[in-house]
């Protein structure tokens, strides 16, 4: 899911909407470049019952892998 160029909470809301159409156990890759996703995405995943597998930043792009719970 490409959320590049958007600011929180948009990346988190887009993640929520994308995951809504996915099955439990599937993994979503989220691309974003707002540093706030380091805080907001894990917090939302915790509340919603999803697992953050990894979050890595390369140059400006933050790549997050989320397993749908």
């Amino acid at each position: 899911m490409d959320a590049l160029g958007t600011w929180c909470p948009v990346p988190v809301t887009m993640t929520r909407d994308t995951i809504a159409a996915m099955a439990r156990g599937q993994v979503l890759e989220v691309l974003a470049d707002d540093p706030m996703v380091f805080l907001d995405l894990p917090a939302w995943c915790h509340d919603a019952g999803h697992e953050v597998l990894s979050m890595e930043q390369r140059r400006d792009v933050i790549t997050s892998l989320i397993r749908v719970g």
Binding site: L4, G5, T6, W7, T13, M14, L31, R59
Partner: protein, 408 residues
């Protein structure tokens, strides 16, 4: 009876397109809302997304709806450079590119970076060899050989002079002179010479008339509503999967975060219906438009001292004819034809108010008088034989009348 031969400016809407606009103009309910009134507009936008994406045979997720093709061009160029973190961009186009493409490129390279324009020949065509050279080196973009037309190379700033291109814009169909580029071959040449460049295909003039399967190899495809039969203020940017893009208009969740702001539901729904109709009726539309263009060209060129600008009518945009005449001004001819009940444009639909010759025609090597005398006559799928005959007669009479008034 009025003869309408200005489809370069606006097309009439079909009954189905107009009905779709009326339906959603009367509807109350935002497509982003949660309640029942949102479902209709949301479904209409989803259906339109499918129809517009089908122009390239890409998936519906590729579509970002915009307020017309000019916004789509801005989004393509500015958004891809922002996503790539490019601070001193190298942008390549050609001198026949749409004025908004050239304006964006000039703005982004005003202080640093480089804008390069590929050479064109006397019919406005860009060669794969010239474009491949231009995207990889400043030195390749400045040919100005006699018989090859002219080219303009504007270099602003020198921080990355000679660096490979970051963005390359291929103008598929040229609005003023009707030149059709071999877009797939040009895109392949850019890809081979400059693999990291983002390739933008400007298909405003060709969407619905020429197949755009797989975006003809481009990463981003600019679509306008007009040639599909939708309102000219509608449009979209189609994005190849994996192409990174930042929004130009920032906001909320609309268009996957890539274009904020409330949706123009009537316009988007109309664009979808028009795209469906255009794909279904493409062959018949193009055949009609080409037939009218051939008749117009034959009739107008029968006037002494005239010439066709751009390629032969069988090798240019369907329905498109641009003719120059010795001893007259294009604006005066257009006004004289209007007085005879025929709607056409002076040579350039976008720049004629500036009181100067079209830079496109100058780039193709026309002298100033011939460039100023150009008249653009564009037929659509609904144009009649009677309108064509009336336009030919009005052109001949206008030119004869204006020449008769010229000081001897």
């Amino acid at each position: 009876m009025t003869g309408y031969l200005d489809h370069a400016s606006a097309w009439p809407l079909s009954d189905a397109v107009r009905a779709e606009m009326d339906r959603w103009t009367a509807h109350v309910g935002s497509p982003m809302a949660l309640h029942e009134a949102a479902r209709g507009p949301a479904d209409a936008i989803a259906a339109a997304r499918e129809q517009v994406a089908a122009l390239t045979a890409w998936s519906a997720e590729c579509v970002i709806f915009t307020a017309g093709p000019t916004e789509a061009r801005n989004l393509a160029i500015k958004g891809s450079l922002a996503a790539g973190g490019v601070e001193a961009p190298v942008i390549v186009a050609d001198p026949l590119a749409h004025i908004s493409t050239l304006a964006v490129a000039r703005t982004l390279t005003r202080r640093t970076g480089e804008m390069r324009l590929s050479p064109v020949d006397s019919t406005g065509r860009v060669s794969t060899v010239d474009l491949a050279t231009t995207v990889t080196s400043s030195a390749g973009g400045g040919a100005n050989d006699e018989g090859k037309g002219s080219s303009i190379r504007a270099t602003t700033g020198d921080m990355r002079a000679g660096a490979p291109a970051d963005v390359v814009v291929i103008t598929h169909g040229q609005a003023e002179v009707g030149t059709l580029q071999e877009a797939a071959a040009l895109a392949a040449a850019v890809r081979a010479a400059c693999p990291d460049a983002v390739i933008v295909l400007d298909a405003e003039e060709t969407a619905g008339l020429i197949p755009l399967d797989d975006g003809l190899g481009a990463d981003l495809v600019v679509i306008g509503g007009r040639t599909l039969g939708a309102p000219p203020w509608t449009g979209a940017l189609l994005v190849r999967a994996g192409t990174r893009l930042h929004p130009l208009v920032e906001g909320g969740l609309e268009e996957g975060g890539k274009r904020g702001g409330a949706h123009d539901v009537p316009g988007i729904a109309a664009l979808g219906v028009a795209a469906r109709e255009a794909r279904a009726g493409r062959d018949a539309r193009v055949a009609t438009m080409r037939r009218h263009a051939a008749t117009l060209a034959d009739g107008m060129l029968a006037v002494p001292g005239t010439r066709l600008n751009g390629p032969h009518v069988g090798e240019r945009l369907p329905g498109h004819v641009q003719v120059s005449a010795e001893g007259v001004e294009g604006e005066a001819v257009a006004l004289a034809m209007a007085a005879r009940g025929v709607a056409v444009s002076p040579g350039s639909a976008c720049t004629f108010g500036a009181g100067k010759a079209s830079p496109v025609l100058e780039a193709m090597g026309l002298n100033d008088q011939l460039a100023r005398s150009a008249v653009l006559v564009t037929a659509g799928p609904g144009t009649t034989d009677a309108e064509v005959a009336k336009a030919i007669a009005a052109y001949a009479a206008a030119v004869e009348s204006l020449r008769g008034m010229a000081p001897g």
